[in-house]
Structure formats: C-alpha cells, structure tokens
C-alpha cells in the first residue's frame, strides 16, 4: 500500500495503470510488434477484400461465389479437411484406446508412432508418397502384378487426404490420450459400483469425459489441413482454396481481389472451426474438475485383442513410415520411375545439395534462429506481464499473440506483401516485404503461440514465493529475474525456442509468398523448387532428409529439455 501511495505522488498516471514505467514500455513494444506484423497485415487483407472503387463492397465475394471453379475449390477444401479428420480418427482412436485401457507392451511403439509423422512436414513426403502409393508407385505395381487391380490412393483429392491424414493423426492421438489419462479412475469405479459395465460404462462415463480431448485434436487437424498450401500444390491439386489464392496472387498479381477474398474465407472457416470447438467444449474442461487422474482401469489383453492390436499397429507403422522410407530411397536412388524400388543407389544427391545448397541451409539457420529468439523474448515478456503485473490490456497481448494460430501462413504472407511491398529500408536490397528480415519476422509471428505457451507454462510453474524469497533477502527485481526467474524457466524457454526453430524450418506457406529471389531462399523453399522437376527430386529428397533430421533432433532436444526440467522440479518436491 505504502509503495502505491509513494508512486502515486510521483507518477499519478502510471500508478493508476498499476504498472511501472518499464512494464508499460515493455507492453507497448510487444503491442507494436503484434500490431505491425500481425494485426495490420491481416486487417489489410480483409480491407482489400471488401474494398471497391466506391468504398465498401461485396462485389468480390459475389464474383467468388459466381465462379464454378472457386465454389468447387471451397467445397474441395472443406471435403479434404473433413475427410482427413475421418482418416486421422480411424488411425488415432484405436491407438489411444490400446494404451489407455490395456497393460500393453506395444505402448512404447504407439508413443513413437505419435511423434514420427510430426517430424516430417507433409509437403516433403508428398512426392515420396506418390512414388510409393501413386498409380505407378510401389504398392500399386505390386498389387497389379499380383491381383490385377490398383487402388487410387493418390488420385486427386485422395492423395491430399492420405498425405495429410497420416501426417496429422498424432494431434488427435495426443489430445485423446491426454484426456483419457486425466480421467480419475474413481470415475469408472463409481459407475461400476452403481451397476454399469462394458458398453454402458463406456457410453455414459468414458466417452463423454474423453470427448473434449478428441474435439480439440480434431478441430486442430481440420484447421491445419484446410489452411495447407504446399501439400496440394506439390501433388498438383490446384482446385482448392489455398492453391487458388496463391496462384492468383503470384500469376495475376498483388492487386487481384480474389486472393484476398479467399484469405478472408480461410480465416473465417478457421475461426468458425476453432470457435465451434471452443463452444462445444465450454464448461467441459473436465480435467481440472477431477481430483485423482491416473486414467482408465487397465487390464491384460485377451489373445484375440492382442492379435488385432499388433496387426493394426504394424499396418499403421508401415503406412506412417512410408513417406520417411520413400524420401530416404528417393534421396539415395538414381532413377525411380515405374518400378517398385529405385533402379540403383548413389550418394550423389547429397553431394549436389552440399555443394549447391549451403546458402539455403545458412538462410534457414539465420531466419529460424532469429525467429526462435524473437519468439522466446516476446513469449517471456507476455508471460511475465500477464502473470506478474497488473498492466491493463496484458491479456489482450496474450490473446493477440495466440490469435496468430487462426491466421493461415498464406494469409499472413499476402498481408505482409500487401502492407510492406512498397516499403524499402536502407541496407536491405529490394522490398522490405521480400527480405530475409521480413521472413524472419513472419516466422516469428507464425510460431509465437507455441513459444508463448512454453514460456507461460514455465513461468506458471514457478511459484511467486521463490521470487518473493529472493526479494525478501535483498535482491532487486532485475537481479531476481536474472538469478531466479530465468534460470528456473530455462528448460521451458529452450523448449519454446527449439520448437519455434524446428517448425519454422519447414514452414512453406508464407515462405512461398515472401521469397522472390534465390539468395533469400531457405531450405523449405529449395525443397519445394527441387521437387517441382523430376530431375530435382533426388537433391530435393536429400534436402528433405536433412530437414527431417534437423526437425527430429530439434523435437528430441525440446522434449529432453522439458523432461529434464520436470525431473529437476520433481526432485525438488521430493527433497521438500
């Protein structure tokens, strides 16, 4: 109280804000960044979409819906996103159930299965998938030889659904598993005690308690797939929304309104899907209402169940690994066409990319490293402002940063292009919009939600009494921050950095729009360009393998850091 009065005498305005001048400055800096590189570009996109010669207009939307091609593209995008959710569900639900209900030795494999797809972006695997499952790919050639028929895995929209489904099912698996393991075992026991068992028990208690986890995962899959640009482009499926927007902007030009209309529709659908899920889940965050946790009662599998489980896992593992195996074969193969396997093997592609493509790798390290750094700095700032100060509008910063989840990379790319195309900065050649600096910023904006959640969680686990103890012993705010807060948050911060770095390394939607010159191109762009031509597939695959290794190591590292942090914390608890 005394300090508040004291501050009130000196700075009445700030005292009313309930924040120190440094906190206000920090808040303003973060807000300026978010406004400049997220809010303005997105609003700019919406503005153009509704802007005619005489002000506000719906003409562009009218044109969009009048065109058969665009209506079909919208329908196709919705169809692909929905069918991907179905495919991902078919894969993920049995796997989640195996590990939740049974004492099952395959649990380790399932956990691994949940990570393998995530380390390889779908566009990297798309070409390899075509070589394995395409009309003249490995599987269909063998099928045709043996049984005389083919399965159109990769024909048109099927290909997009297949590639995205085996990439994104872990989102459902992870969310559903978390929900199941949060169920208090007494929830099931009390139902059994009152006479429920088997199917009734599942229908009345287990299913409703697990549903929120499933819906969270499924809506995420829907949005990710709906927004994805690179996978349909690489599979040569252009009759979808994202490819249409990209093609209009890059071929017709930045002034063509259709790209903006599509952007608005994409954001609207993303928001509707996420909002719908949130609405469905409102008041159903059961995890926090249950006291015990520990998951369902486990039992041993009967032999029939075990056989089914092992066969299911074996098939899933084979399919999930096929893009990885395919890309590896492609990177090591001489020629691979109309044959189940490449004709011969060579290391030449790796030689090619190591001599030709070092620039791309350096660019990726620079951009993604910069983006990761920016993200953790902003993430720490927002987490600190939200949890430790009373700065007005602090939650708005958090919400704005998180809202970037609902903005597809394509839309952010178009917005940044439109906003900063005319701007040039001394020391940067060409437009600011297409510079490496802007790419770094765009990556940072795209990955900020992940880094923010990591920093926020790290700070949340840090009880404020640890800081108060340091202050009570005479340490100032800054010293406390440096010696107590940051060291204890380090695991979370590092995990946030690595996640941002690794996922930005394979980001392609915004990259495709913002890279205009080869010298600025990162790894992901190079993979995309190589993959376009049959001759470039070998080197493209070699780059892809390198990218996968980078992401895999990054994911492992981030996991290790978080794990180390957790174990240190739990040791402290034991010691206390």
């Amino acid at each position: 109280m005394a300090t508040a009065t004291l501050a009130g005498l000196r700075l009445p305005g700030l005292a009313r804000l309930g924040a120190s001048p440094a906190q206000v400055a920090l808040g303003l800096a973060v807000a300026a960044f978010l406004v400049a590189f997220l809010v303005v570009p997105v609003l700019r996109v919406a503005w153009v979409a509704f802007q005619g010669p005489a002000g506000f207009t719906l003409v562009h939307f009218g044109d969009f819906f009048a065109s058969t091609l665009f209506r079909e593209a919208l329908y196709n995008s919705l169809y692909v996103a929905a069918m991907t959710v179905v495919l991902a569900t078919i894969i993920a639900v049995p796997l989640a159930y195996f590990i939740a209900r049974f004492d099952f030795p395959g649990a380790g494999i399932i956990h691994t299965l949940g990570v393998i797809p995530l380390v390889m972006p779908p566009f990297v695997g798309a070409i390899a998938m075509q070589l394995v499952y395409g009309r003249n790919g490995t599987v269909n050639l063998l099928l045709n030889d043996a049984f005389g028929f083919r399965i159109p895995f990769m024909e048109g929209l099927n290909g997009v659904i297949f590639v995205e489904g085996i990439h994104y099912f872990p989102f459902i698996l992870l969310n559903l598993s978390a929900a199941l393991s949060n169920i208090d075992s007494a929830m099931e026991e009390s139902a059994q005690n009152l006479g429920a068992r088997g199917w009734t028990l599942f229908r009345t208690v287990v299913f409703p308690l697990a549903l929120p986890g499933y819906v969270a995962g499924a809506s995420l899959v829907f949005v990710k797939v709906f927004d994805d640009l690179a996978t349909p482009l690489l599979l040569n499926v252009t009759a979808m929304l994202a490819p249409q927007a990209y093609l209009r902007i890059t071929s017709v030009g930045l002034a063509d309104p259709v790209g903006y209309v599509i952007s608005v529709i994409m954001v609207a659908v993303s928001l509707a899907a996420m909002g719908g899920a949130a609405l469905l889940l409102r008041g159903r965050d059961y995890a926090t209402q249950q006291r015990g946790g520990g998951g369902l009662q486990r039992r041993r599998m009967r032999s029939g169940e075990a056989a089914f489980a092992w066969i299911f896992i074996a098939i899933t593992l084979l399919i999930v690994l096929s893009p990885h195996i395919g890309i590896l074969l492609l990177s090591l193969g001489t020629v691979w066409s109309f044959s189940p396997l490449p004709d011969g093997f060579t290391l030449a592609h790796y030689g090619t990319v190591l001599t030709e493509s070092t620039r791309y790798m350096v660019n990726t390290v620079l951009y993604c490293g910069g983006a990761g750094l920016l993200d953790v700095l902003i993430g720490i700032a927002i987490a600190y402002l939200v949890q430790r100060t009373r700065l007005p509008g602090r939650r708005l910063l958090d919400q704005a940063a998180t809202a970037s989840l609902a903005v597809p990379g394509l839309v952010l790319g178009i917005g940044i292009l439109r906003t900063y195309f005319e701007v040039s900065v001394p020391g940067i050649e060409g437009s600011l919009a297409t510079s490496g600096l802007m790419l770094t910023i765009a990556y940072a904006v795209r990955r900020l939600p992940y880094a923010l959640r990591a920093c926020d969680a790290a700070l949340r686990q840090l009880h404020v009494s640890l800081e108060e103890a340091a202050e009570m012993l005479g340490a100032g705010k800054l010293f406390t921050l440096a010696r107590i807060v940051v060291p204890l948050m380090l695991g979370g911060i590092a995990a946030g950095f690595v996640t941002a770095f690794a996922t930005a390394a394979v980001e392609l939607s915004a990259t495709l729009l913002l890279v205009t010159r080869d010298v600025n191109a990162p790894l992901s762009y190079a993979i995309y360009v190589y993959m376009q031509s049959p001759a470039g597939r070998g080197p493209g695959a070699a780059l892809g393998v390198i990218a996968v290794v980078v992401v895999a190591v990054g994911t492992w590292l981030s996991h290790r850091l978080a794990e180390r942090d957790r174990s240190r914390r739990s040791r402290e608890v034991v010691a206390a």
């Binding site: 007494a186 026991e189 059994q192 005690n193 006479g195 009734t200 159903r284």
Partner: protein, 354 residues
C-alpha cells in the same frame, strides 16, 4: 450371529500385490444396521479392505459375504454395495440429478419412479432444488452430499464410506459426521466407514476395528477399545497412553506392579504374575497436593495449555510421563523444573502383554 442378521462378513481374507501383503488373514462380521468403522494409520490396509468388499480387487484367499450372499467372485456392478469415494467421483459431465439417477437407470427403474426417488434422495441430504446444477458449481460439502445421495438412492445392502470427511474443513467435518450418523439411523443401512481419525471413529461408530500392518488389532465399541486396549498399538493409537514395562509380583495377599526407578503400584488380584506392560492414560495420573498420598515423584519438563486441561510432561526415573490436569479459571500451570509427586488411580491401570 444368525445368517439373517449379517450385514457384511469378511472371513479369513488375505490380499497381496505381488509379494507385498496388504491384508493378512482378516476376519470380521458387521451385523445388519450397524455403523462400523475401520480405523488405522495410512498403509494399514483399511481402504483396501473396503475396496475388496465393493469388488475392486480379488482376495487371494478367504470369502466375503454381503447379507446371506457370498459375493467373493461377483463383479462390482453385481454386488449392490454402495460406495462413496474419498474424492466423491461425481461425473463432471452430468448434472446432479443425472449423477443421482445413474444407478437407478442401470437397474431399469421406470422413469417416473426415477424422478421421484432422485428427488427423495436429494431431499434426504438437504439438496432439494439442486438437481439441475453441475458438480463443479457445488461446494465441497454439497458435492459430498450428492455423492451420498447417488449411493443411497439405489438402496444398497451396505454403504461403504472411504474417508468421506477428509476433504472438508474442520467445522464442516464435525457437522457432516453428525448428519451421516443421523442419515444412517434414518435409513437403517449397514454402514462401514474408513478413517484414520480416531476422534471421528469414536464419535460416529457403533463399533470399530483397529487395523495395523494388514491385521485387525482389536474390534469393539469405541469406549471398550479406549478403556481396555488389547495391545501396545491400540493403546497408543487411541488417545495418549503412558506405557511402562515392569512385572507383577505377589507379596503376601497383595499383588504389586514393580516398574523401573522404584515405581510400585497396587495391581488387581486377578492380574497374572510376570512381565507386563502397564498403560496409564494421562488423566489416570494426578499431581498430588501437599500431604496427600502419592506413589512416586518427578520433575516438570514442559507444559502445554490445551484449553480444558493442561498437559504436563514429567520425567520420572528417566521416562517421560504425560499427565493431564483439569484447567480452572485463574489457575496457573506449574513451571518447568518444579518437583511434583504423582498419584495413580488404581482403578485406571491397564495391564497388557509386554
């Protein structure tokens, strides 16, 4: 006990996880309509025993009967044994009324009757009009009542309560235990109550079993167990006891207890001679006033003012005795260092197996 009068019978039950024996040849019988408590420290096996009665787990040996029926092999859903879980386990996705109706639907009770019985059950626990709420909207005490209503509504043969008061604050705990007792009287349900709090067990139960290390130490009415503990564990677990090792000898017609440091106390003529363990409650010892008879003397080490009485820790021949003196207004406790003479009430001595 005739078949008809049995509420729950546990016969020679042994239960182990792997090589860790949790319950070791436990037997007891709870007559129909009794309010029975399992009392013991954590790890004593009391909750495991309760869960076995509910069907969560299979004993390696022994039988469990509910009423006349042997339920040892029956699954939980086929026992008609109602259990209230320590953390209540209310389903957060259902309303209060849906939670309470759950067991009735499982028993295919017709809908109008379900509605009527749910209302009656909620009224029984004082929650009329709360049917439409969600568990998360209720206080801890209210959640406790819903859990109780959900269980009694199915009219189980036995009501099992697993530390039902442990999640409530002290004030509410005392209120709820009186309500539980009243509810049990009203319904006449055979009830088993698990607790580690001896005061709770004393206050609420007709009879209780004290468990330790997976074995039943003693069964009886609370006052019987307090006054006549069967062994060192029961004497120490139920309240405070001064335990003195010594022996009983006959001198002429009289029996005497001889302890260390020259302590000599009269013993009843029925006491067996030989080594023994004397249990003395703090209120069985008194600081003798000037000129009154006393058996031995010691020195005040500390005092604790506990409101109704003052507890003295007094060293006698190297041992520390706890002695309670009633507190009266204005009376000051004796300061540490004071030498006092102690008198034991000969009617309050309990001799245990050493």
């Amino acid at each position: 006990m005739t078949e008809n009068a049995i509420g729950v019978a546990v016969e020679d039950v042994t239960f182990a996880y792997g090589t860790t024996v949790i319950l070791d040849r436990v037997s007891l019988a709870v007559p129909r309509g009794e309010f029975f408590a399992f009392l013991g420290p954590s790890g004593s096996g009391k909750t495991t025993l309760l869960r076995l009665i509910a069907g969560f787990g299979q004993p390696q040996r022994g039988r469990i009967r509910v009423g006349a029926r042997d339920v040892t092999e029956a699954p939980p859903w086929d026992r008609n044994v109602g259990m209230v879980f320590q953390n209540y386990a209310l389903w957060p996705h259902m309303t209060v009324a849906e939670n309470v109706a759950f067991g009735l639907h499982r028993r295919r009770v017709p809908r109008p009757e379900v509605v009527r019985r749910v209302e009656a059950a909620l009224a029984l626990v004082g929650l009329e009009g709360y049917g439409g709420r969600r568990p998360a909207q209720l206080s801890g005490g209210q959640q406790q009542r819903v859990a109780l209503a959900r269980t009694v509504v199915i009219e189980p043969e036995v009501l099992l309560l697993d530390e039902p008061l442990s999640n409530l604050d002290a004030q509410l705990r005392v209120e709820m235990r009186a309500e539980l007792r009243a509810l049990q009287r009203k319904t006449g349900l055979t009830t088993i109550f698990v607790t580690h709090d001896q005061e709770e067990a004393n206050a609420i139960s007709d009879r209780m079993a004290v468990l330790d290390g997976g074995r039943i130490q003693q069964v009886g009415r609370p006052v019987e167990l307090y006054d006549n503990p069967a062994n060192r564990f029961v004497a120490g677990f139920l309240g405070t006891a001064n335990l003195i090792e010594g022996e009983i000898v006959r001198e002429g017609a009289a029996s005497l207890f001889r302890g260390p440091g020259g302590i000599v106390l009269p013993a009843p003529g029925t006491a067996r001679t030989g080594r023994t363990l004397l249990a003395l409650r703090p209120q069985a010892l008194a600081i003798a006033e000037e000129g009154r008879p006393a058996q031995f003397s010691g020195e005040v080490q500390r005092t604790e003012f506990l409101g109704g009485h003052v507890r003295y820790a007094i060293t006698v021949a190297g041992m520390v005795f706890h002695v309670d003196e009633a507190h009266l207004r204005g009376r000051e406790a004796l300061p540490p260092g004071t030498t006092v003479r102690l008198a034991a009430d000969p009617d309050q001595l309990t001799f245990l197996e050493p």
